[in-house]
């Protein structure tokens, strides 16, 4: 794995890394991912079933019946950047000049 790959993963995951952190994670990721791949190479995948049981069992969706769970005040109480009851974020759309 190259350092560029770590930086791409960090960008995809929205995590700012220093150069020093990127170097350190590169070594650790190679070791951990390498160990996982070596273990999996030892498995005879012919004995491994399709995995549908867990996908079906654990991907359960609750009925879509909207209800009001929390009031606006509770939902906003942890927000530090707000104005007139709305959360402030940087402008997403550029104005026409």
């Amino acid at each position: 794995m190259e350092k560029d790959k770590i930086l791409l993963l960090a960008k995809t995951a929205f995590i700012e890394l220093t150069d020093e952190q990127a170097e350190k994670f590169l070594i650790e990721l190679e070791e951990i991912v390498g160990n996982i791949k070596t273990t999996l190479d030892s498995v005879n995948l012919k004995d491994v079933h399709d995995g549908d049981y867990y996908k079906k069992r654990l991907t359960l969706l609750i009925g879509d019946s909207p209800e009001r769970s929390f009031d606006r005040e509770s939902m906003m109480m942890n927000s530090k950047r707000q104005k007139d009851g709305y959360i402030l974020v940087p402008k997403l759309i550029k104005e026409d000049k």
């Binding site: 993963l9 995809t12 991912v33 049981y53």
Partner: protein, 461 residues
């Protein structure tokens, strides 16, 4: 601190919930274990006052009325800070309570505080917490295990009677082993996860830490059962039955010698009452790799919600949202969390997520292997951890070695079976947990068996 002892004191009018609570808070301060991130004195004293009145009238709400609970800091308690052991949530106030917390309070349980933990439940030593490591009350130069290290320490140090933790790959059982207490992980689908901050949603389970199996049983009966907020709960129940045949491993190659010795002695102790059957568990190595892939992929998705916009760390600014997200997450997450998110992102993006898909197939494989073992036996008995408690900083330089701490516990999360760790004895004054694993949804029978094993081991010294 056992539930029955506390209730006896209330009945004999020797103590009240308020006097005991005074003693607990004094002891927490004096012991200085760093097992709590937040103490909830205001609500605890209010609850203790009401409990005192009920006991005086002879009308307690339940047999946990006036019993003291600690709650892991990734479980929500309304209007109380919930940090998940992370800088990114260090000032977050929860707007609601988890179902387990509501059920405990409805029965008169008193919440003493929120316990320290590995950041977002990722770790096996409690050294990844933003709020500093927890000291093991058995010997403060050793780690308490993790990720529910503060919870296990709080029970072992009598800073609470019961703690509610979370167990994704051993996070309740391994620290219970390290602190010499009981740690129970029920079958996935028995206890509502509503209010538990998701780490790896398909594996996360609420768990109970207590001094005795009986106390875990008591609390399990209160917190289990249907909840409209958690669609993965199941009404499936196995009939109660007596366990007769118990499976054990002849050798555990990677285990430390003291662990093997204690395990061997405890197996011998069981031979008088049970038929012991040698079994093989060749899937241990595969289970760790499967566990790593599943948890890291799911965590990279689950933790995407922490972006510094609506709540949590909001100190960073930027030209656009991407800059704010990246700065907040870069500053707010610790090394272990970043490492797992990056590996999860790698697995999810590599060859269209082939590793994540494979991990589900491997989960089926592991579950099928476990089911085959259970065709001939009622329970599996194995050590909880390959090692005894270790010293601070002993494993922090090798994340890979730290991840292997879950070797003997992760398979029960992957196969979705219940498991409980009981203290099996001591070596050089350090505790060693022995784990009992049951069939899926066989939680009641497993707890009965665990209570018998606990009695046998206690009688044999």
């Amino acid at each position: 601190m056992r539930v029955s002892d506390i209730i006896s004191k209330y009945r004999a009018k020797e103590e009240t919930p308020i006097t005991l609570l005074d003693g607990i808070y004094e002891k927490i301060e004096k012991d200085d274990l760093n097992d709590y991130i937040s103490l909830t004195k205001n609500i605890a004293y209010e609850e203790a006052y009401h409990s005192k009145i009920r006991h005086e009238k002879g009308m307690p709400l339940s047999d946990i009325d006036g019993v003291f609970f600690s709650i892991k800091d990734n479980i929500a308690v309304e209007n109380i800070r919930m940090t998940c052991g992370s800088k990114i949530l260090s000032d977050f106030i929860s707007p609601y309570s988890a179902t387990v917390v509501e059920r405990i309070r409805a029965k008169g349980g008193i919440i003493v505080g929120k316990t320290n933990m590995d950041e977002f439940a990722m770790g096996s030593s409690n050294e990844s917490s933003y709020f500093g490591p927890v000291k093991n009350p058995v010997d403060t130069s050793f780690v308490p295990g993790g990720s529910s290290g503060g919870s296990a320490a709080s029970v072992a140090a009598s800073h609470a009677c019961i703690s509610i933790g979370s167990d994704t790959g051993g996070s309740v059982r391994q620290p219970s082993s390290f602190c010499g207490v009981v740690g129970f992980k029920p079958t996935y689908g028995e206890v509502s996860r509503y209010g538990l901050t998701a780490f790896s949603s398909s594996l996360d389970t609420m768990g109970i830490i207590s001094e005795t199996v009986r106390d875990s049983k008591r609390v399990f009966d209160i917190i289990r059962g249907e909840d409209a907020h958690d669609s993965t709960l199941s009404s499936k129940k196995a009939g109660k039955r007596d366990y007769k045949r118990v499976g054990y491993l002849d050798a555990i190659p990677q285990a430390d010698k003291p662990v093997e010795e204690i395990y061997g002695k405890r197996i011998e102790d069981l031979k008088k009452d049970f038929e012991l059957v040698k079994i093989k568990m060749d899937f241990i190595d595969i289970s760790i790799s499967t566990y790593q892939i599943q948890t890291m992929c799911e965590t990279s998705s689950n933790l995407a919600r922490f972006d510094g916009i609506k709540y949590g760390l909001q100190s960073k600014s930027g030209k656009n949202l991407r800059e704010i997200y990246s700065a907040v997450r870069g500053d707010g997450f610790g090394s272990e969390v970043k490492r797992r998110i990056l590996i999860g992102t790698y697995f999810l993006t590599h060859n269209e997520g082939e590793y994540y898909s494979l991990s589900f197939r491997l989960r089926d494989y592991i579950a099928n292997e476990i089911d085959k073992i259970f065709e001939n036996i009622d329970a599996i008995v194995i050590p909880t951890s390959l090692t005894l408690p270790f010293k601070f900083n002993e494993k922090t330089s090798s994340p890979l070695q730290m991840h292997l701490s879950d070797s003997l516990t992760a398979f029960s999360n992957l196969a979705n079976v219940p498991a409980i760790s009981i203290n099996g004895g001591y070596s050089n004054n350090l505790p060693c947990g022995i784990q009992l694993v049951g069939k899926r949804f066989d939680d009641d029978s497993l707890l009965e068996f665990a209570e018998r094993a606990e009695t046998i081991w206690r009688e044999n010294g």
